[in-house]
Symmetry: C2
Subunit: 221 residues, 2 copies
């Protein structure tokens, strides 16, 4: 298809498509003469992914490049690749020094994997500093309640990764560095990135609606 058709079918304006071509995140079409090029469904799918990352998830171009690079060439170590991909998502928070005492205490209390290089650890540290400053610090009891709710949700999310890429039941050799195809790893990275970025607003809205539902029941509204 021509670029005009690609624009129509993707919903992305021609000027924006040309920008993505110049940035090298959308591969060039097949040349048809000096000024025209032909695009296929591969281009359309890539363009839809870029659009989701740019417009729906709000990633800057540099982070889109990082994510696409990890999808196109996932490292054999899927866990590390996933970590890098999720780290490219907003919000972009800085580490507060080397220490994240509040986040460390919370994560260790829950018995989860603590990783100080993971931006979500810094996010949690900042969020916990904020509730402390506002006079409503996180109690162990609340942390337990939240952890008990969120861990099964995360189990559900991870189990849904395409092609069983993150499969707890696979034999240990298949779960290892070399036992998973690059295609399966690419699909898992795509799923994790879009799922994390675009489902957080769903979760936050649902949580507010759950509060409203509970309050309505309790207050007899």
């Amino acid at each position: 298809m021509r670029i005009s058709e690609l624009a129509r079918r993707s919903g992305v304006p021609v000027a924006t498509i040309k920008f993505y071509l110049r940035e090298g995140i959308l591969p060039a079409g097949e040349a048809r003469g000096a000024t025209q090029a032909d695009y296929d469904d591969g281009h359309l799918n890539r363009l839809r992914l870029i659009r989701s990352l740019a417009e729906l998830a709000g990633l800057p171009i540099a982070q889109i490049k990082t994510v696409l690079g990890l999808i196109d060439h996932p490292d054999a170590d899927l866990f590390t690749t996933l970590g890098k991909a999720i780290s490219a998502l907003p919000p972009y928070v800085e580490a507060i020094g080397d220490e994240h005492p509040r986040a460390r205490a919370a994560i260790e209390h829950l018995g989860w994997t603590y990783d100080e290089t993971f931006p979500a650890t810094w996010q949690l540290e900042r969020a916990l500093a904020a509730v402390e400053e506002a006079g409503i610090p996180l109690t162990d009891e609340r942390l337990d309640a939240y952890g008990a709710a969120l861990h099964p949700m995360a189990e559900y999310d991870v189990a849904g990764a395409p092609g069983g890429a993150i499969d707890a039941d696979a034999p240990a050799t298949d779960r290892g560095a070399t036992g998973r195809s690059a295609t399966a790893r690419s699909a898992a990275v795509r799923y994790a990135v879009l799922g994390t970025a675009l489902y957080e607003p769903v979760v936050v809205a649902l949580r507010r609606l759950a509060h409203q539902d509970v309050a309505a029941r309790r207050l007899g509204a």
Copy 2:
């Protein structure tokens, strides 16, 4: 205390305190001569609340006024007051017309209270439109998994409202419009506003860390 002492103890610069005084969201101190005023712990607490709303939760001045007005003069109908207060929090999304078909279907599927005037309903509609557009629409199965996790969390949050203000076990007459003191209603609004605005980043960060923990276990990292 003098304004300099108030600034030091609250961490809010004098110029910002003067701005809040001009905006009428911080009550004037007691006059001590032509150019000086005296402030007390009431001012300090109010200033800390304004700071939490402005700097930590990111509310614009107009929305801070709305929230403070609801805390100072909560309507006898606590459910409506809470709804107005939560509606003053970011993100500020517009209703998409009168219909919210995706949000309505999801909320009714869960059997929760559907209220089309509640901004979280519009937030959910937009979030569901985005995941649909990205090719990862919300399935009923995922909705059930999320609802089952989030509703108990919301139960925990609401049960923790100060003074049993949102108390399911109170006699029906006490739960009614006139059975709850204005002080208890004020405290419940403050708790709901700060808890909603400042605990969402905690929940989002914990969810990412739960994903990481599950992936680490499954991938043997």
